[in-house]
Symmetry: C2
Subunit: 348 residues, 2 copies
DNA sequence: GCTAGCACTCCACGGCCAAGAGTGCCAGTA
DNA sequence: TACTGGCACTCTTGGCCGTGGAGTGCTAGC
């Protein structure tokens, strides 16, 4: 994927990348003169103009109007990102901020993610995003029915620290004895994953007496909502105020659409799943490459984090397509790496 | 408080209120002609002009520039709000939306609040806010230590459905036996409130053997963070995208400050405490009446909700000072009423 | 105490012009 | 063949001006 872009030829590539960098820096359409001076290619602005015209023809640059400089298209950014050098070192201050944050061991992954999202949003000046691990594969360590008078609380605790609860109306038949009895039966599910336990519960319920039946189904339902559907859709968002920064020349209308979607977890989850797919490393989705980011005129930088070999979650940032990709990618990659360490440790 | 404003005299009051209503509706500075026609006072625009000049002198109205219409000052809005008729009926669609939402019984208060905030933001087109009940006075029904291998989870469940957890590094001395033993001792705390249990725990820890000491302190700390300090600061926010609505003529800079503060729960909690104080009913804080809302050029409408006689939480909306106060107050009041019912029921 | 009338003020808007930035292209050169 | 200097052309930006309109403040009269 990287290589196919080199059909551009080295000089066109250099010009394109110079335009991207300059535009990201200044926010102004950039002219041939600027590139001729700054790029160090040792050619005149006229030559740059020719290259630029060609790059526009090829779809990497545009023109706001005839006599303005060039700005990159989404395809232009894509080329830039794909040809970025790999060994970029994070700025020292950022490196230290990340190290500092992870130095104070916090043991609750949900909390760590909230903090990580804040951290990323501070480092990049964009908004941070994270998808925490799902419950499906997590073994259950506790499963309880708690008598709360007119209601009953169903409480599940997972091996890696998640806690799911649900309060239900107390079924007619469920007196203290029954609660006790059902809770006892639930103990046989310890050690099973949320997913396996669900299946098991449905079987148990089918065979159970009427008085137990309802409760067992409710427990199954509790585990189900923790693993899928509306309730499970969960995205951690932070630092959205960064997106209103005055530097960002975002149109009001666009900003509004972005904010609206950020509030709909279900939808955000879908977007993040789409853009992360099954990438192994940090990945960038630029503007119209995904319908939703296109709608926002924004880009998303994400990286998966893993427990051992299995991807368990996602972390990233969302910002304008005119983004400092190099730095954003480095920050996201570094944070994802730390999260993987934590998640792997948790797992062990 | 209402009455003192009537020193304005009935006609000045009528003019002021007409200006507020017209300005809220149109967003444009309003002229004397408009008021003369719409207010039904049966006087000419010249008379209105005199009244307006007087109202400006008194600090209720301003002028963007000499030849523009008038807009209300914060004091102007205050007078308007204070003289609002009490018996305003909620719009039928809103009434139904609220009834509909609360018809489907959700039993987890935290969930209800999230939903209520969304509901309010949809009804009013502003952002919704809520402060859930604190843990301090809630009796504890379960207190557990869960063995998670290299770590231990401390889990507390409250009478009204709250669940607090904290994962700690496993203390050296804490083998399975010790965990068991400490967990047994914790059972004596059942029925105590979070606050009482804390005090009790500190006493227990002081007298306990070395191996129990650390664990007991950790449990106390868990209860403490649930009741006060950083961790307990918790504000539910929803519908912020409404604030970016194009209709709102909010300055970029102002909007940014508002969004930044909305993300800082600690600070938001303080603001909400300030503006709610110990009001019994819905209350409005307008612009500069509070330094923070002044900074935002915004107003907050809040109402407490209660369990029995005790205020347990707050719900409200935040929007521009140019707000439809009547409708916002009605919506907030109605939702708070429903929440009080739920909270009271919970308590019982 | 109210109103009609009027002079006055100030903004919003459109047209106009000049300056400037940047392009596209051509003709010339190594 | 590839590059460059030069130049005409285009389009935006900003300032300047004049006009129209909205709304005020004031005064004289009912």
């Amino acid at each position: 994927m990287v290589e196919q872009h080199h059909e551009l030829g080295p000089r066109k590539g250099a010009v394109l990348n110079a335009v991207v960098e300059e535009y990201v820096r200044s926010g102004e359409p950039v002219g041939s003169e600027t590139i001729a001076e700054s790029s160090g290619l040792g050619v005149s602005s006229a030559t740059i103009r020719n290259e630029m015209a060609a790059l526009e023809e090829l779809g990497f640059l545009t023109h706001p109007h005839t006599s303005a400089g060039r700005i990159p298209t989404d395809t232009g950014y894509r080329h830039y990102v794909d040809t970025l050098p790999h060994g970029f070192r994070l700025r020292e201050t950022h490196r230290r901020a990340i190290a500092g944050y992870f130095a104070e061991a916090i043991l609750d992954l949900e909390e760590v993610l909230k903090g990580s999202v804040q951290l990323l949003s501070r480092l990049t000046q964009y908004a941070g995003l994270a998808v925490p691990p799902g419950a499906a594969e997590e073994p259950i360590v506790r499963l309880e029915l708690i008598d709360m008078g007119p209601t009953v609380m169903i409480l599940a605790v997972g091996q890696h620290g998640r806690v799911d609860k649900r309060v239900i109306d107390r079924p007619e038949a469920a007196d203290v004895e029954v609660l006790r009895a059902v809770e006892d039966r639930l103990q046989s599910l310890r050690g099973l994953t949320y997913l396996d336990a669900q299946a098991r519960l449905l079987k148990l319920a089918a065979e159970a007496s009427v008085s137990h039946h309802d409760l067992l189904l409710h427990v199954a339902e509790t585990l189900r909502t923790a693993t899928q559907g509306e309730g499970a859709a969960h995205v951690v968002v932070g630092g959205v105020s960064n997106l209103t920064s005055e530097a960002q020349v975002w149109r009001r209308q666009t900003l509004r659409r972005l904010f609206e979607t950020l509030e709909r977890e279900q939808e955000m989850l879908q977007v993040l799943q789409d853009v992360t797919a099954d990438r192994e490393d940090v990945w960038v989705t630029i503007g119209a490459e995904h319908p939703t980011t296109g709608d926002w005129e924004a880009s998303i930088v994400t990286a998966p984090f893993k427990a051992g070999d299995a991807t368990v979650g996602t972390i990233g940032v969302v910002g304008p397509t005119r983004m400092d990709y190099l730095s954003a990618m480095a920050s996201v990659r570094a944070v994802a790496k730390r999260l993987s360490e934590i998640a792997t440790e948790h797992e062990a």
